[in-house]
Subunit: 422 residues, 2 copies
């Protein structure tokens, strides 16, 4: 197969005609397929269905940590929920707060604390301009939190080991108004990259101009590998020197383990940070939904239990990712698509030729295949080169996914051909 | 029975000796009783136990409002949860947001929005000093939210119809830095007062210097009456003129209906307010725990279902309140205790002679009966006259409650007698 760039204008024009015919056929099929959102497919939601029986079984002990979980109390979660996440995070339980279902809410809360109250004796962030480092492409909802608080976002490119460290170190080291960085360190959203050991170590220990710099370590996909041989992410608390322990806020949830939006979210941080966070949370809530926590911990038990569940998710996800990647290879061979081949997570990141992302997404939509809006993976939705498309293959069944991917490939080809022909 | 004030010093001294002997007897009993917290008793937590079977039944339909509630989505809650609270609040469902379990968290969130973002085009509150009107005695966690955000609290006395309206109107009408008032309008915490119709109307329509003044209407005990004949609270949205609809934020939860800290919390506000709140919530969360909402709405169904549950709670609570009130009458007759006789809610408010509250609470504690710290019902925990004690009779079983109340009465008598003797 020749690259498009090697073809004559005539050959390109002929190919474009063919692809346009294919496009018209897709349109006639009146498809309605959705690859916009990184959410579990219906059969993934059935994986933990039996968990809903747990609390109605005979002999359920509602007393946890000396308290009836049906009543008020336990601000930082049940002991069992904290232990479960401690094992998953590989930290001690007193570094964990187990909360309601949304890890996004925990991140929002901590940014709010930084903005309004400041951390560990430092001044509130909002007394001056606040900036965050945003590795791109990245997670739109991280950028949304910055937007909500008027925080300036500085885009830093990702590579196969994580964010470009030279840029990150230079920024964080020189500007004390840079207060944080967003990281999805394992099966990164959307590139699927796992941060290298060196990256974790350098982020954990880099010089920061701000004493109250925070790494928002969103470990959303910590147990979400597709393969027997898991990808190892260095424990950032182990990586950080003693004096840098307070820099780290880690997040995760069971949303993509049990039920999306109805799981347990948790954060891990140094004991000093946890004490301060709890002292602030006490004004906000009397405690999380501990019945939900009890249901989860009785069902999942421990990391082994989580991994048994995740194996079932992997069996559903793996074929979808493998299909998508194998089909996308054509774009790579034609020289009009570069993409990641994630071994876990929920996304594939596709780079089309410069200036082609928006048109591709629009064309696919016209043919009935919804994709995440182009630019969504960049701060303020602005992808300067208009080249990145986030693909979320989890929701459609394999047969539909194949059709959706054919539509996507067709849309990329048309857009790229039109660009080349000029 | 003669009032203490009518007795001679000799008679008082003799009585004090007797009471001190009684106190010593209590101490020997090594009691450990708790009347600190307004939380449900164990047998109240059993009232809705069968709700936990709902989601494991055959044929549960997880699709609500076109969405699988086991997946992400529905930022403002399931349609059924919104409808349930709309019926309870007596508003339309599009004025409701149904959330996770904590109504306190919703109040905190809205104060945070006011402080950081401002409401409906007005400037953020935190650009200047912010003050709230705090009817006293009141709910300590409301005052806690003010404390967390550095909001100055202005105490205004409660009477049998609600807060002293002349004072409230004069404050709110003259100072544009007064941005809100905390109200528990039905079975008020801790006085048990139900705001009169006139009070609701005047609060809803009073002139406020601040265009962005907000009434935080914490209707925590809206269905928590003890008697067949319920006390009617005027619907504040009906009471408010059109131009004052945006002034009202209403809150409630099922924490004291189903399970404390594991229910559904909800807020009601004008459509304009709801639209703005949702536009901000979208940065914070993808949605509440909708499985929990489904479980609740399938179990409770509607207001009738809620009232059936509340009847069972009333049967548990009523005897406790009646016992306590009947025992406390003695203090009233002796002229050393004024207290409310609530027809619902979770608290009784007891006023002892000036300067006697702290000593009474300390004495009771010495004899093994824990009470809410004196002053807790006032901003910053400061009861200038040191006279108010909040009694929470819900947790101890009736037999224990009787003993605890005897200890409390004994402690009041000793403190009052010592004061009179001088």
């Amino acid at each position: 197969m020749k690259k498009y760039s090697e073809l004559s204008k005539g050959e390109l024009t002929e190919l474009l005609e063919q692809e346009k015919k294919t496009f018209q056929k897709f349109k006639k099929d009146k498809l309605s397929l959705d690859m916009t959102r990184g959410k579990p497919a219906k059969n993934q939601l059935d994986v933990c269905l039996s968990m809903l029986k747990i609390l109605s079984a005979d002999g359920v002990d509602f007393v946890q940590g000396g308290q009836d979980v049906r009543n008020y109390g336990l601000l930082d979660g049940t002991p069992a929920a904290k232990e479960l996440f401690a094992e998953l995070f590989d930290v001690s339980p007193d570094m964990v707060i187990a909360a309601d279902s949304s890890s996004l809410q925990l991140m929002y809360k901590l940014v709010q604390h930084g903005m309004q109250f400041g951390f560990l004796g430092e001044r509130p962030w909002n007394e001056g301009k606040v900036k965050f480092i945003c590795p791109v492409p990245g997670y739109d909802r991280h950028f949304g939190i910055c937007k909500a608080f008027g925080i300036e976002m500085i885009a830093v490119p990702m590579d196969e080991n994580g964010p470009d460290l030279k840029v990150v170190e230079s920024l964080a080291g020189s500007d004390d108004r840079i207060k944080g960085i967003w990281c999805v360190p394992k099966y990164s959203n959307p590139t699927g990259v796992v941060y290298s050991e060196k990256t974790v170590e350098r982020l954990a220990n880099m010089k920061t101009a701000a004493a109250d710099f925070r790494i928002f370590w969103d470990n959303a996909y910590m147990v979400h590998g597709f393969y027997e041989k898991d990808d190892k992410l260095k424990n950032i608390f182990d990586a950080a020197k003693k004096e840098n322990q307070n820099r780290i806020f880690t997040f995760a949830s069971t949303s993509k383990i049990t039920f999306a939006g109805a799981g347990i979210a948790a954060l891990a941080a140094s004991k000093e940070n946890i004490a301060e966070i709890k002292s602030r949370m006490t004004y906000e809530t009397i405690g999380p939904n501990k019945l939900n926590q009890l249901m989860h911990t009785e069902f999942l038990k421990n990391k082994d239990g989580v991994m048994r569940v995740m194996k079932k998710h992997a069996e559903i996800m793996r074929p979808k990712f493998e299909l998508l990647v194998s089909m996308l290879e054509e774009l790579s061979e034609l020289g009009v698509g570069e993409f990641t081949r994630p071994r876990g997570g929920y996304f594939i990141s596709l780079n089309v030729p410069d200036g082609c992302a928006k048109k591709t997404v629009a064309l696919a939509s016209e043919a009935g295949v919804k994709l995440t809006p182009a630019g969504a993976t960049f701060p303020n939705g602005l992808d300067d080169r208009d080249k990145n498309i986030r693909i979320a293959p989890s929701v459609p069944p394999v047969a539909e996914l194949e059709i959706a991917t054919r539509v996507l490939i067709n849309a990329v080809k048309i857009t790229a051909l039109e660009k080349l022909i000029g």
